[in-house]
Symmetry: C2
Subunit: 331 residues, 2 copies
């Protein structure tokens, strides 16, 4: 641990749209940071090539020698077998099935490599350097196109038996609800994510409801995003307000479930949709107070994340610095 | 720990119908065990008197001196503030509101006392002496009139910030579902518990559906229990089979949610309804395989509890022997 203090981790956040690579110190300081496009449609081989180049370029830019590097930490969207270093499946990386990403990168770059889920990494990042500092038990949620989660128990990242714990977005809260990206019905993600809000807007506009959303996208319904809905809601558009309120209610039910199960001190909400702020979070908190048991509802604080898009890389770095006994491919 | 090995815990399981009191050794051996009626309708003062008598009688029957006793461990149904030793509210103990049960008993009997939730205690009991021996991460569910839960993380009982974690029965899985005993709608307990099956039977029989259940209760629908439904289902009664299948499906959805969130090695199911065995658990497992992500679904085993009605007292004893730093009232 002492030896690694002066060293860096090459941290990577592999998302469906972009790859962020950075050198991160054990203090959480980001020394070097680069963006690359994922171009996920080109398939896993091509993405893995870009990922290795990203790591190599970051290493060069930060003027790091191999001996300066504690390891590589990759945070990736999807169901990750952390023990084996495998992306088993990923909604954002179409076609990826049981890709042994950890070992491929470890062998190519000759560095000890770890692979964890991106929301788990963000939970760890927010716990060590962001909104969750000093808190023993917290749940982290990222609400963006999808909904991901990470769990901190007794001050450490909880990953479960295979390392894929934390799939909060696929908690079913409305058995007969709309279909989710995962194929199941009524998941929290299908009801409260950015894509859920977008889909609901399009559905209701197609049914002939009036809304200023239409003007905001120049009549092109396919251009609607959660940001459009947020913008319209902030200006008081009734349809947009209703859609946000509906998503907030479902988010509140999801959080109440987690509060009744985990009795956490803190829930940290990150991701693009959380930038809506209080128009989403105020009604979410109200639902939590109505639904969760009084004792855990009184204890929990629900706050916004602080690290933005750095949460994942900082958390991936922490994970490597802590040298988990399982999950790392030593080379 | 060594000193306490030869000592006993006076363990109590305080339920809505009966109080079980026993002397339990650190090996899990139950030296003395007595039943008492709770008579919850008589109110908290009366129940607390019976509980102290039960403990005193057990101590006398086991011929224990104060110096032989490591402490008193009480497992009680309800939302328990373990840190403060308070029954904040309990579905089975009507009228109990913020009753400081731990301190009342500690003062009356002059012994260090601990108070935890009954399903959390049962989780600990099954983990140390029953179906969960040697497993790091498990979820325990008791399915009876209601549904309770307990969580074992990294080999220890997880209680959360206040000590009330594990309220799995009140995870909402059908937002627009039937009302639960807790007042909310669509909780797992309202859909998959014994009382849910009973209520659904009565509702459908009242709508004129035919079933052998009516004969089993001599036409008195108010006498229907989950056991009646189970009996009819085992004989192939179509209505009973449908009701069990429906409950099993919801139970499977609840378990799939837990599997996606916790990625546990094991789920242990206890409680009266679990005695139905495979007519309930086979379709439950099928739903789990359909709903949960492949990786955690492949890992988890779903098994029946082994300790029966001793799980709570054994777990309460373990809790005391482990001398949790928080939650005990030292006298």
């Amino acid at each position: 641990m002492l030896a690694s203090r002066r060293r860096s981790v090459l941290a990577v956040d592999l998302g469906g749209t972009k790859i962020i690579a950075a050198a991160v110190l054990s203090t959480g300081e980001v020394v070097s940071r680069k963006y690359f496009l994922t171009l996920a449609d080109e398939g896993s081989r091509s993405v893995i090539n870009r990922l290795s180049s990203a790591v190599a370029e970051t290493m060069a830019q930060a003027k790091l020698k191999t001996s300066d590097i504690a390891g590589i930490g990759i945070a990736a969207a999807g169901i990750i077998d952390t023990n084996e270093g495998i992306v088993t499946t990923s909604p954002n990386l179409p076609g990826w099935r049981n890709v042994p990403l950890r070992d491929i990168i470890a062998e190519r770059l000759g560095l000890t490599t770890y692979l964890i889920n991106d929301a788990s990494a963000a939970a760890l990042g927010e716990h060590r350097f962001g909104a969750g500092k000093g808190v023993d038990n917290l749940i982290y949620l990222t609400v963006s196109t999808g909904i991901g989660g990470g769990i901190i128990i007794d001050g450490g990242l909880y990953l479960g038996a295979d390392g894929c714990a934390g799939e909060i977005g696929h908690m079913i809260i409305e058995t007969h609800g709309p279909q989710c990206n995962c194929g199941k019905f009524g998941c929290l993600e299908a009801l409260a994510s950015g894509s859920a809000m977008t889909r609901e807007s399009v559905r209701r506009l197609n049914q002939g409801e009036k809304s200023s959303i239409i003007r905001l996208v120049d009549g092109r319904l396919e251009s609607i995003t959660a940001e459009t809905v947020s913008l319209a809601a902030k200006k008081g558009d009734p349809l947009a307000c209703d859609i946000v309120a509906r998503a907030a209610n479902y988010l509140g039910i999801g959080l109440a479930n987690l509060i009744n199960i985990f009795n956490p001190e803190l829930i940290v909400i990150g991701g693009g949709v959380s930038k809506m702020g209080n128009i989403l979070l105020a009604p979410t908190r109200k639902t939590v107070r109505e639904i969760a048991f009084k004792l855990p509802a009184r204890t929990v604080r629900i706050v916004r994340a602080r690290l933005g898009s750095n949460a994942g890389i900082k958390g991936a770095a922490v994970y490597v610095f802590e040298q988990q006994p399982k999950g790392g491919r030593k080379v």
